[in-house]
C-alpha cells in the first residue's frame, strides 16, 4: 500500500475539515484513506483524450429541460418558527454561539 497521505497531511486535512478525532479513529481513517487512494490511482494510468470535457453531470440540460429562472423578488420564508425551534441555543430570535477565536498580533499594523 502506498503511503500517499502522511500523518502530517492527514492532520492538515482534519484541520481543514473542522473535525476532532480520537487516536483510534485517526489511525483507522488514515489507513482507509490510503487504501482508497490505491483504488483511485488506477485513474492515473487511463489515457485521456485532449478534448474530453470536465463532466459534472451525466445528463445534459437544454433550454427546454431546464426550469426557468424565477423572478428576483423577495418571498417570505415558510414556517420560520419551526426552523428556529431546531436551534440548540437561542435568545430573542438570535442564535447563540461561542465567540470566534481571537489571535493576538505580535506587532502593530503598518498604517
Amino acid at each position: 500500500m502506498t503511503e500517499k497521505i502522511s500523518i502530517e497531511t492527514f492532520d492538515h486535512l482534519v484541520e481543514l475539515a473542522a473535525l476532532a478525532l480520537s487516536e483510534d479513529e485517526a489511525a483507522y481513517l488514515r489507513r482507509e484513506l490510503n487504501h482508497q487512494l490505491d483504488a483511485v490511482n488506477e485513474l492515473a494510468a487511463i489515457p485521456l483524450d485532449e478534448d474530453l470535457p470536465l463532466t459534472a453531470h451525466g445528463i445534459s440540460y437544454t433550454a427546454a429541460t431546464s426550469p426557468a429562472m424565477r423572478k428576483d423578488e423577495w418571498l417570505p420564508g415558510e414556517n420560520p418558527e419551526a426552523i428556529i425551534a431546531q436551534v440548540p441555543q437561542t435568545d430573542a430570535g438570535f442564535i447563540i454561539v461561542p465567540d470566534i477565536p481571537h489571535t493576538d498580533l505580535d506587532e502593530p499594523h503598518a498604517a
Binding site: 486535512l13 482534519v14 484513506l33 483504488a39 483511485v40 451525466g58 425551534a85 431546531q86 477565536p101
Partner: protein, 528 residues
C-alpha cells in the same frame, strides 16, 4: 393471501371498491411490523440480543398516529365521494434521508438525531398528496454512505428478511426490507451508486434509479448532488410505475428537476418486447477486485450463477421477440468505482459542511469559549466514521495541489463512462440497443460483519450499479430468482436518458413470462 402481501395496485383497487378500508390496511401493516421488525434502530442500543438477530429492524421511527390520521382522511374522502388519489390507502415507508415535516429526520446519524424537519421533501409530499399512507422512517447507512446499512448510528441495523444473518444491502436497506417483508407495499429510497438497486437485488424486490433529474431532490439530505436520485422500491413492476407517476416531474424548488412533457409510465407497460434490442456487455460479466496488498486490479469472472441468471433472462426475452445483441463494449464502466471515490467524496465533503452545531442538529454539550472548537467537537462527536472518511477523502482529492490529478481527472473519466452509454444506445451507431442487461451485483447478500470496515471492498459491491449514476441514465433491478443458498438474485436493465417507460416494459414482460415459476411463490425466511 394477507392484505400485506397484496400489491399496491390491488390494495388501491380493493379500497376504491370498498372491500377494505384504509384503516384496515394500516392495521394489517402495523400487525406485520410488530410481528417481524423487532425494536427500531436507536442511538443507545446496547448489545445486540439473540432476539435482535431474528428480527428485521427496518424502522428508525414508526409514525403510527400520523399514519392513522392519513388513513382516516382517505376513508373520509371516499365516504364523501371524493377522489382520494392514485395511491390511496397504500402504506409506504420513507428512507430517513428525507425531511418529513414534524418527524424525526436523522439521516441515521447522531448529528441529526434530535432534528425535527420543518418541511417535507417533494417526492414524499407527492406520495402523501396521492393518498399513500406513510408508516414511518426506515433505516439506512449513515448519510447514505455505504452498501449494507451496517454503518447506521441507529442500531440494530436492518437485516435481510431472507436470512437475518445477512445484510439487506444499502444504503436503502430499511426501504428494501420493509417492502420485501410486507411491512409496506412501497418505499422511497435514494440511489447514488446503487443504493436502491443493490438492496432491491439483495432483498428480492424491484428497485428503480430514475434518470437524474426525473425526480426532485428537494428535501433530500444531500450526499452527492450530481449523483443522488430519489426512486421507488416495490414488489412488482406495475407498483413501481404507479409510484414513478406520482413522484416524478418538475419542481420549482429543485433546478435540477428536468422539465419534460408529462408521461404516464403505466400506459405502454404491457406492450411487450417484440423487436426491442437488448444488449449484453462482456464488461459487465467480469468483476474488478483490488488487491488489498498492492492495490492492483484483478479482473475475474463473475460467479457462474450470476452470469447464468443474466443469460437465462436474455434467452427468455429473446423467446418473447427481443433481439439480443452480444458483445456491446462498455470498456470504461470498470473505472466507475475509482471515479466514484473521487467525485462522490468531493460532493459529500461539501454537502456535510453545513453540519456544524450552529442552527440545527447536534451541538457538543461541553461549554466551549471558542466557535472553532465548537465546530470541531460537534462534528467530531456527531459524525460516525463513514462520514468522516468521506469528508477527509473529499478534501484531499480536491485540494489545490491534487485536484488536477484526482478531481479533474475523475470528471474526464466520467465523460468516458457516459460516452460508452451514448455509443451503445445511439440509434445510428453500431449497436443501437434499447437497453443493456447486466447483473445488478457481483454477489448475493453477504453476511453481516463480513465486509464492513473494509471501505474499498464495500464500495466494490456497487461496481455494476455506479456507472449509471455517473452517466445519469435510468436503471432498474428486477428479481430473477434465487441462488443455491436461497438468496435473491437481481438483474439490471439500463437505458437511454428518460427511457424509464421502456425499462419498465421489459421488466413487465419478464414478470409476466415468469409469473408461474416456483421461485415466485417462495416467502422470506422471516415470514415462515
Amino acid at each position: 393471501m394477507q392484505l400485506n402481501d397484496l400489491s399496491a395496485h390491488e390494495l388501491t383497487q380493493k379500497l376504491r371498491q370498498r372491500e377494505v378500508s384504509a384503516v384496515e390496511i394500516l392495521n394489517a401493516s402495523l400487525k406485520r411490523i410488530h410481528a417481524v421488525d423487532g425494536r427500531p434502530g436507536s442511538l443507545d442500543a446496547g448489545d445486540i440480543t439473540p432476539q435482535d438477530e431474528q428480527t428485521l429492524h427496518a424502522f428508525i421511527t414508526l409514525t403510527e398516529d400520523r399514519a392513522r390520521q392519513q388513513a382516516e382522511a382517505v376513508d373520509h374522502k371516499l365516504a364523501q365521494g371524493e377522489d382520494p388519489g392514485p395511491l390511496a390507502g397504500v402504506p409506504f415507508t420513507v428512507k430517513d434521508i428525507y425531511c418529513v415535516q414534524g418527524t424525526s429526520s436523522t439521516a441515521a446519524s447522531k448529528i441529526l438525531a434530535n432534528f425535527t424537519a420543518p418541511y417535507t421533501a417533494t417526492p414524499v409530499a407527492r406520495m402523501e398528496a396521492a393518498g399513500a399512507i406513510m408508516l414511518g422512517k426506515v433505516n439506512l447507512d449513515e448519510f447514505a454512505y455505504g452498501s449494507s446499512t451496517e454503518s447506521s448510528a441507529f442500531q440494530p441495523a436492518s437485516r435481510n428478511p431472507w436470512d437475518t444473518s445477512r445484510v439487506p444491502g444499502g444504503s436503502s436497506g430499511g426501504s428494501a426490507v420493509s417492502v420485501a417483508a410486507g411491512e409496506a407495499a412501497l418505499s422511497i429510497g435514494t440511489d447514488t451508486a446503487g443504493s436502491i438497486r443493490q438492496p432491491a437485488a439483495f432483498c428480492g424486490t424491484v428497485g428503480l434509479k430514475p434518470t437524474y433529474g426525473r425526480v426532485s431532490r428537494y428535501g433530500l439530505i444531500a450526499f452527492g448532488s450530481s449523483l443522488d436520485c430519489p426512486g421507488p422500491i416495490a414488489r412488482n413492476i406495475t407498483d413501481t410505475a404507479m409510484m414513478l407517476n406520482v413522484i416524478s416531474g418538475p419542481d420549482h424548488r429543485d433546478n435540477t428537476a428536468a422539465v419534460l412533457p408529462p408521461e404516464n409510465f403505466l400506459e405502454k407497460l404491457e406492450a411487450g418486447v417484440k423487436g426491442m434490442r437488448i444488449g449484453l456487455s462482456p464488461d459487465y460479466f467480469q468483476i474488478s477486485i483490488p488487491d488489498p496488498q498492492t492495490g492492483e486490479y484483478h479482473l475475474q469472472a463473475l460467479p457462474q450463477e450470476m452470469e447464468a441468471r443474466v443469460r437465462q433472462t436474455a434467452a427468455l426475452l429473446e423467446s418473447l421477440g427481443a433481439v439480443i445483441v452480444d458483445d456491446v463494449p462498455m470498456p470504461n464502466s470498470r473505472y466507475g468505482v475509482s471515479v466514484y471515490f473521487v467525485i462522490s467524496r468531493v460532493e459529500a465533503a461539501s454537502n456535510l459542511n453545513r453540519f456544524d452545531g450552529v442552527k440545527y442538529g447536534y451541538r457538543t454539550p461541553g461549554k466551549l469559549n471558542d466557535l472553532d472548537k465548537m465546530y470541531r467537537a460537534s462534528r467530531g462527536e456527531g459524525f460516525g466514521l463513514q462520514p468522516k472518511l468521506r469528508i477527509l477523502m473529499g478534501m484531499y482529492v480536491s485540494a489545490a495541489q491534487f485536484s488536477a490529478q484526482y478531481y479533474q481527472r475523475a470528471l474526464k473519466v466520467r465523460a468516458m463512462i457516459r460516452r460508452d452509454f451514448e455509443q451503445a444506445f445511439d440509434k445510428s451507431g453500431k449497436y443501437q440497443v434499447d437497453a443493456l442487461l447486466t447483473p445488478t451485483t457481483p454477489t448475493t447478500a453477504f453476511p453481516i460483519g463480513d465486509v464492513y470496515g473494509d471501505s474499498v471492498l464495500m464500495q466494490y459491491a456497487d461496481q455494476f450499479t455506479v456507472p449509471a449514476n455517473h452517466a445519469g441514465v435510468p436503471a432498474i433491478s428486477i428479481p430473477a430468482g434465487f441462488d443455491a443458498h436461497g438468496l435473491p438474485i437481481g438483474v439490471q436493465l439500463l437505458g437511454p436518458d428518460f427511457s424509464e417507460a421502456s425499462l419498465l416494459r421489459i421488466g413487465r414482460a419478464y414478470e409476466i413470462a415468469t409469473a408461474e415459476e416456483a421461485w415466485r411463490q417462495v416467502k422470506p425466511q422471516v415470514l415462515h
